[in-house]
């Protein structure tokens, strides 16, 4: 009998409209809507990913983005294992917004939370407003992982979650995801060097 999957709580943070809900919908249901409901409060979805010898269940909490909702968001990230901080690569403001989110995470989040930055709407890369180097630099400076994503084209989405799992359990050998009909092939993440947290393995 297979062991019960390891549970990982992930919370999505970031300004309103950057595509948090869309990323979750893509990851969980492989779907994209041009218009989905604005998130009020938070929503929850779960998804299990198979790694070679292990299953991980991501419990994903998606939150409302408007700044005044920050005080309500605490409830959702208090005991999270990982946070995906999302910005819209075509909106400078949303990148600046990450600093505020990060500050709050540091203040109210768990000490050892794994932080990932997702530069979303990669499909609109021609109108990119934040140089990738700068985003990478910033991610590094706060010890966060970084990846570009597109909920629309399904670029890098699952990878964000695999990154999190690998970071949390460095000895996880990520299993190659089945090739998708779309032809999108995700790169295998390099197992992050030592120093990773051994929380879930």
């Amino acid at each position: 009998m297979q062991k019960a999957p390891t549970q990982v709580k992930v919370v999505l943070l970031g300004d309103s409209g950057v595509g948090k809900s869309s990323l979750v919908l893509r990851f969980v249901a492989d779907n994209f809507k041009n218009d989905a409901d604005a998130t009020i409060g938070a929503s929850y979805m779960g998804k299990i990913l198979q790694f070679n010898d292990k299953m991980i269940k991501f419990n994903i909490w998606d939150t409302a983005g408007q700044e005044r909702y920050h005080s309500l968001a605490k409830m959702y990230y208090r005991d999270a294992n990982a946070a995906i901080m999302v910005y819209d690569i075509t909106k400078r403001d949303s990148f600046e917004g990450l600093k505020r989110w990060h500050k709050e995470l540091q203040e109210f989040g768990p000490k050892d939370i794994v932080v990932t930055i997702a530069g979303n709407k990669e499909d609109l890369v021609e109108t990119e407003a934040v140089p990738q180097e700068e985003a990478k630099e910033y991610s590094k400076s706060i010890g966060a992982l970084y990846r570009k994503t597109s909920a629309k084209t399904n670029y890098g989405v699952e990878q964000v979650f695999r990154d999190i799992a690998t970071k949390m359990c460095p000895d996880l050998e990520a299993q190659a995801p089945a090739a998708r009909p779309s032809g999108t092939i995700s790169l295998q993440p390099k197992p992050t060097p030592a120093g990773g947290k051994k929380k879930c393995c």
Binding site: S16, G17, K33, N34, D35, A36, D37, A38, I40, G41, A42, S43, Y44, M45, G46, N59, A64, G65, Q66, R68, Y69, S71, L72, M75, Y76
Partner: protein, 405 residues
């Protein structure tokens, strides 16, 4: 004694909400009013029609003056237009989205302390689908924010956090087993009540259920939101107490709420909860607010120098008082004989209430109103008095339904 529906509506239309007709209206609302009358009843009971009468050109003037100006709020509104009930065909039509935008933008100028808060789009969206005109929606929204809900609900949202705690207390008292179970799996009311409160269930339930809830809400006030919440939990009590996973419990609640199709059960339960009234809620709010203030010592006291006119006239009698308490604005409005003007510096300013030097405003208008929601006249003890006696109206009407325990 028996009066026909039409007579009651006619009376409301002529005289507004009175002590006499209120129980009758309430009774009418228990089973849902005839749809054609719903609009009139909401406008009257909420005080929105009075606002419209008193401020005839207010809405059109704001729209004309301000609609085209880009602000932080208008940008957020634009982001949310297409994310307002996107599954409903009504909101696919561009003209309806334009109305939604106009109402929300206009309100952000009327009350810059609130500006725009995500969730208001769902409130206004629901009002629009009932068939109200833009101006009617605008004043209904103004009444909801300024007369029905605590004044920091949509601005800094402290009011929402307090009300979540209020709900948690009520749940503990009324459904102790369930409350115990939920806390044993780590679920606090603050997780699942955000959209109940912020959208007054517009985000939670199907349209027909929401309309029936608002029928009573406009008469009874925000206490009814808590009763609906408790009723919902009671309906799901068996299922929820079986769920032992935190995430699943949350998901169950979200998903099942959207599938509540019959408003009668939940309404009936809520109406039968006679032990909770506005006073209960006000007291709890006050208590919890003091507690949370103790925790986060806040000392941004507001000075009220007489450089601005504050609105503290004493009314001559009770009816004037009632009228005024419905008229008064949350924060400020600047009316002049020529229509409405708005002081731009209020936008993006979080220090409210703010003192404005009248010398610096346009044509030293006398009608500048700055202050808090409930006017300070001693005749009217509290806003709950107006709606408080509604419990009596229900007495005898729904005795068949046992109170939840």
């Amino acid at each position: 004694m028996e009066r026909s529906k039409d007579q009651i509506i006619e009376d409301l239309n002529k005289h507004g909400l009175t002590k006499k007709n209120k129980p009758l209206i309430t009774n009418l609302m228990l089973n849902g009013p005839p749809h054609k009358d719903r609009k009139l009843i909401w406008l009257e009971t909420s005080g929105a029609r009075l606002q419209m009468k008193t401020n005839p050109n207010y809405y059109s003037a704001i729209v004309e003056d301000k609609l085209k100006i880009k602000t932080e709020f208008s940008q957020q509104i634009d982001r949310d237009l297409h994310r307002t009930f996107p599954a409903e065909s009504y909101f696919v039509e561009e003209k309806h989205l334009t109305s939604l935008r106009k109402i929300l933008v206009a309100y952000s100028w009327r009350n810059p302390t609130v500006g725009y808060c995500q969730g208001l789009n769902f409130l206004v969206g629901r009002l629009l689908t009932v068939g109200f005109s833009e101006e009617e929606c605008f004043w209904l929204l103004a009444q909801i924010i300024e007369a029905y809900l605590p004044n920091d609900y949509f601005s800094v949202m402290t009011g929402v956090i307090i009300d979540q705690q209020v709900f948690q207390v009520l749940l503990k008292n009324k459904l102790p087993k369930m409350a115990k179970h939920l806390s044993s799996i780590g679920i606090d009311a603050s997780l699942y009540t955000v959209h109940w409160l912020v959208c007054m269930f517009a985000y939670t339930f199907p349209k027909n259920v929401v309309m029936r809830i608002w029928d009573i809400f406009f008469i009874e006030g925000s206490v009814f939101l808590f009763k609906i919440g408790l009723s919902l939990m009671w309906i799901f009590r068996k299922e929820i107490t079986k769920i032992t996973d935190f995430n699943e419990a949350f998901r169950f609640l979200e998903f099942q709420s959207q599938n509540i199709a019959d408003p009668d059960i939940i309404l009936g339960l809520a109406i039968s909860m006679k032990s909770i009234n506005s006073k209960t809620i006000d007291k709890l709010r006050e208590k919890l607010r003091i507690q949370s203030q103790d925790e986060t010592t806040c000392n941004d006291s507001v000075s009220t120098e007489d450089s601005a006119k504050s609105y503290t006239e004493i009314c001559t009698d009770e009816s004037e008082c009632e009228l005024k308490s419905k008229q008064e604005c949350s924060y400020f409005t600047f009316r002049s004989t020529s229509g409405v003007s708005i002081i731009d510096e209020y936008i993006n300013d979080s220090n409210v209430p703010k003192v404005v030097d009248l010398a610096n405003t346009i044509d030293n208008d006398k009608n500048l109103v700055i202050g808090c929601k409930n006017h300070a006249c001693p005749i009217k003890q509290s806003s709950s008095v107006i709606r408080g006696d509604i419990e009596e109206a229900y007495n005898g009407l729904r005795n068949d339904q046992n109170e939840i325990s």
